[in-house]
């Protein structure tokens, strides 16, 4: 069935990182099919530099492509109407280099957004900037974050009507999370909704009608914490935003609670590690659901919420599909926040599903971290069964294509001090491959049935986004540098291309000025999973990169740093 409120230009643009407000990442272009995909050829490429993780989605509006790079966050505009897509303009925002010390997960940027002739971008040092799409001239610039506290911005903004929605990063630094709405024309901040604290700051008011009893009560954003811990409680809004125009609700996740050591913050730690439905006009919350109460393993809740209108369990429903870090694919009623299903897509040792009466996740007490002790075989690891990397939906196959990893970890927690500007974690992790044997996979998930249809195992975590197209071809990239096309129905590999570096970006598809369908992706390994290469980490320390290095010691054999845009089309 139709994705909710698809706002994509039927002409084949890709105006925002998730393609549309429903976050389907589904391109309606059908020129590339399983029959001809093997003929895909490189149409052009563009060198980006610097050699850090290229996680952005190339944005296409009309005949221009906009690419955001990791720090120093240069934005390139390429003119697609000319052969070879030459550079139209570039914009260098000159962010503060000190921001690099506050970026937990590589100095990435997840993309810009295009609307009404403007391009909206975020810089690592926490500025939201609007540019004129045609000339690259800066229209306004608003500082939103304080890097001295360890607060940065890495997410791709979402434009809803005349507002630009921006959320912060920095939960790992004890930064209190927020989502802000800026006026698209002037950059003036209209409202800011915090992820912890009193109801007035979280923007919980008379409109708030959470489905579950655990989320009802006054000032739970203070009362579910010890002392003043909510002030450094995390809940960063560093993930994806989706929007239902009919219901006029923005859906966003809140990130992991701070510190990672759960013993230092007893209580449910609201409103971290959950999903909010808010009114974009004033930020007032409509409902909330907590994926991970007390966020025992620092999963957070920032993964994407894909909005679908489809028959579900017998009746036509407006649902929200969310593959969470805790290893479950959730289906929620997106108007009320009720959990309709929660089914695991990886091996999970930290819990056994959700209690549908209370809404709480049933957790395994044996895997709860204990200060001073090592707890082993925590699956999924703190990186989650799926991290930031976004999944794609095909309304034709009714499958959700989830790029993810399969990692477990050993953890030892310790009491950590909050020192502003330094990480606030308290957890030593060592990750290792999960029981499946391979560290990553692309899984096609049957949403209606609540189970896996097929899965392609990969050597490394699939840290790139997924792309689904109307031609029934699904694209994704691997960390060892392969950009792959597979049959959307069966998962049969159709085509692949070896890029000059691992791929952690979001593939997109657009219709070029010549009418052909193009597929574009950035290569350049990095992100949290690729930090061993992008940041030159030492594999001898298993706890480096919060344990990720232990599971990725062989990555440097397969890929070096990079930074290139690749665009493919049929000949």
């Amino acid at each position: 069935m139709a994705a909710a409120a698809a706002q994509a230009d039927p002409g084949g643009d890709w105006p925002m990182a998730a393609h549309d407000h429903a976050n389907t990442r589904y391109s309606p272009l059908g020129q590339i099919t399983p029959a001809n995909a093997r003929s895909l050829k490189l149409a052009f490429s563009f060198k980006l530099g610097p050699g850090r993780g290229q996680e952005a989605a190339p944005i296409v509006a009309g005949a221009t492509m906009f690419i955001a790079t990791p720090f120093p966050n240069t934005v390139y505009a390429l003119d697609l109407s000319k052969p070879g897509a030459p550079l139209k303009w570039r914009f260098d925002p000159k962010p503060d280099p000190a921001a690099q010390g506050a970026a937990c997960c590589d100095v990435v940027n997840r993309g810009v957004a295009y609307a009404d002739g403007r391009v909206f971008m975020n810089t690592l040092d926490g500025q939201a900037i609007a540019l004129d799409a045609a000339s690259g001239r800066e229209l306004w610039r608003t500082r939103l974050a304080d890097i001295k506290k360890g607060e940065t911005v890495t997410m791709a903004p979402l434009v809803v009507g005349d507002r630009v929605l921006v959320g912060n990063s920095g939960g790992e630094f004890g930064v209190r999370g927020w989502l802000a709405a800026l006026d698209a024309a002037s950059g003036r901040e209209l409202w800011r909704a915090w992820s912890t604290g009193p109801d007035s700051e979280v923007r919980i008011g008379p409109d708030f009608t959470p489905h579950y009893a655990a989320d009802r009560g006054a000032d739970l954003g203070v009362k579910s914490w010890i002392g003043q811990a909510w002030q450094t409680g995390g809940g960063a809004v560093d993930g994806w935003l989706s929007y239902d125009a009919q219901a006029n609700l923005v859906y966003h996740g809140t990130g992991s609670a701070a510190p990672w050591n759960p013993d230092q913050r007893p209580g449910d730690n609201k409103w971290t590690a959950g999903v909010f439905a808010r009114n974009p006009a004033n930020g007032q919350a409509r409902w909330y659901y907590q994926w991970n109460p007390h966020d025992t393993w620092a999963y957070g809740g920032g993964n994407e919420n894909v909005l679908l209108d489809m028959p579900y369990k017998g009746s036509a429903r407006k649902i929200l599909v969310h593959p969470d870090r805790n290893g479950y694919v959730y289906v929620l009623d997106r108007l009320s926040g009720q959990v309709l299903a929660a089914d695991p897509f990886v091996a999970v040792t930290t819990g056994e599903g959700v209690d549908f009466a209370s809404g709480k996740r049933k957790i395994n007490p044996q895997k709860i971290p204990r200060t001073g002790q090592a707890v082993r075989d925590i699956c999924p690891s703190s990186a989650g069964a799926k991290n930031w990397q976004p999944s794609a939906w095909s309304p034709r196959t009714k499958l959700l294509y989830i790029p993810h990893q399969d990692l477990c970890q050993d953890s030892a927690t310790y009491d950590v001090s909050y020192i502003p500007g330094t990480p606030y974690l308290g957890m030593d992790n060592k990750m290792q491959p999960g029981p499946g044997g391979s560290r990553g996979a692309l899984t096609a998930w049957d949403v209606a049935a609540g189970r896996k249809r097929w899965s392609i195992a990969e050597r490394f975590p699939v840290w790139s986004g997924a792309l689904a197209t109307a031609g029934d071809v699904v694209f994704y990239g691997t960390m060892d540098g392969w950009f792959k096309a597979v049959d959307a129905r069966s998962g049969v590999p159709l085509w692949r291309f070896k890029a000059d570096s691992g791929i952690v970006g979001q593939p997109v598809s657009y219709r070029g000025p010549d009418g052909k369908q193009y597929v574009a992706v950035l290569s350049g390994v990095g992100g949290w999973a690729g930090a061993i290469v992008s940041n030159g980490l030492d594999p001898r320390d298993g706890t480096a990169a919060r344990g990720f290095v232990n599971a990725m010691k062989d990555l440097p054999v397969y890929t070096g740093k990079g930074g290139t845009l690749y665009v493919f089309a049929l000949p």
Partner: protein
């Protein structure tokens, strides 16, 4: 003929004149002194102020009595043996008649001795079992739950509650309600420590990586001093703890105060003091609730001014001692983790003014 040409025992040495009577009075004085200094914290294993210590005290008394009896009997037997031994001199042949045949009635004597010992040991075992059961059966309804974490060389106390907003953290001084059971969960942050509150219970080890539990109850109000009883480093001897047992209403009032963040400084001097605290090294190790200082390496100072002592029970908490401690803690506790803090005198006084507001 002896080997070295001198007889075994020729003459008893002359008794040495010693102020024996006065010396024997010293233990008595030490025992009685706490009673005399009633206001000073009590640290006395022989005086039980809680039900657990009473059980242990009874076991102690019984053991002491039984062992004293045994000791007296053995001593008496020894004296008897000495008295009834044949007097002799260097030329007397040793009596080796027992090599040829056993002493008259020897088996009977041995049987009696073994029998009495066995009975005695069984009595001790029984007393021990009874005591252990009594200790384990202390009722735990309406208990106060405290997580006590040993650090080198101070005590961190986290008061637990089902409602996270009612939990709080303090250091080195526990308040407990009289008559209510207290369940203390013990952990250690670094090396093995041992909690010992002699007036309230016996010792319990705090082993890093493990959790142990101690349950006790104070039955009379008072201030009880405890200390670390497992060598834990340079300053093991300076790691004391105060437990203040007070009526429940007072305890609730104290707990309610502990839950509050630190008050906003009201004068410019106290504001300067807070700036000094947050701007210098203090906030790298200490926490004051309600400010950005939230470090956990050193004790939580949110309610420092309400404590009777500083430096883990070693110094009285007054301006002079606090100033000296902040300036150079190494003088009192060399090797303690807190470094010397050189700062201008006005800054130190402003800081002390601010710390004095943290009630």
């Amino acid at each position: 003929m002896s080997m070295h040409g001198r007889p075994f025992a020729t003459r008893m040495p002359q008794p040495v004149r010693r102020p024996a009577r006065l010396v024997s009075l010293v233990p008595l004085v030490l025992i009685l002194a706490p009673a005399a200094a009633a206001a000073a914290p009590l640290q006395d294993a022989l005086r039980a102020y809680g039900v657990q210590a009473e059980h242990i005290g009874r076991l102690w008394n019984f053991t002491l009595g039984l062992c004293a009896l045994v000791f007296a009997l053995v001593l008496a037997a020894f004296v008897c043996a000495l008295w009834s031994a044949r007097r002799g001199d260097a030329h007397t042949e040793p009596d080796i008649s027992s090599l040829a045949r056993p002493e008259r009635g020897i088996y009977r004597i041995i049987a009696w001795a073994v029998g009495i010992s066995t009975v005695g040991l069984l009595a001790l075992l029984g007393a021990d079992v009874v005591t252990s059961r009594a200790l384990a059966r202390m009722p735990l309804q309406d208990a106060v739950n405290i997580e006590l974490i040993g650090h080198q060389w101070w005590w961190e106390a986290r008061y637990k509650d089902a409602d996270p907003a009612r939990q709080f953290t303090t250091a080195n001084e526990l308040h407990i309600p009289v008559g209510r059971p207290v369940v203390v969960t013990l952990r250690s942050n670094d090396v093995i420590h041992t909690l010992w509150l002699p007036n309230l219970h016996g010792k319990r080890d705090m082993i890093p990586g493990r959790t142990s539990t101690l349950t006790f109850r104070a039955d009379q109000p008072g201030t009880y001093r405890g200390q670390c009883a497992e060598f834990c480093g340079l300053e093991h001897a300076m790691m004391a703890l105060l437990v203040v047992a007070e009526p429940d209403a007072q305890y609730q009032a104290w707990a309610a105060r502990q839950r509050q963040p630190a008050p906003e400084p009201a004068t410019s001097r106290t504001r300067r003091g807070r700036e000094v605290f947050l701007g210098k090294s203090c906030a790298m190790c200490h926490a004051i609730g309600g400010t950005t200082a939230n470090a956990v390496f050193g004790p939580d100072l949110t309610h420092l001014a309400g404590r009777g002592t500083i430096a883990s029970g070693m110094l009285p908490n007054n301006r002079g001692h606090l100033g000296g401690w902040i300036s150079d803690p190494q003088t009192l506790k060399p090797g303690v983790s807190m470094p010397a803090n050189l700062m201008p005198q006005e800054d130190l006084h402003a800081l002390l003014d601010y710390l004095e507001t943290l009630k």
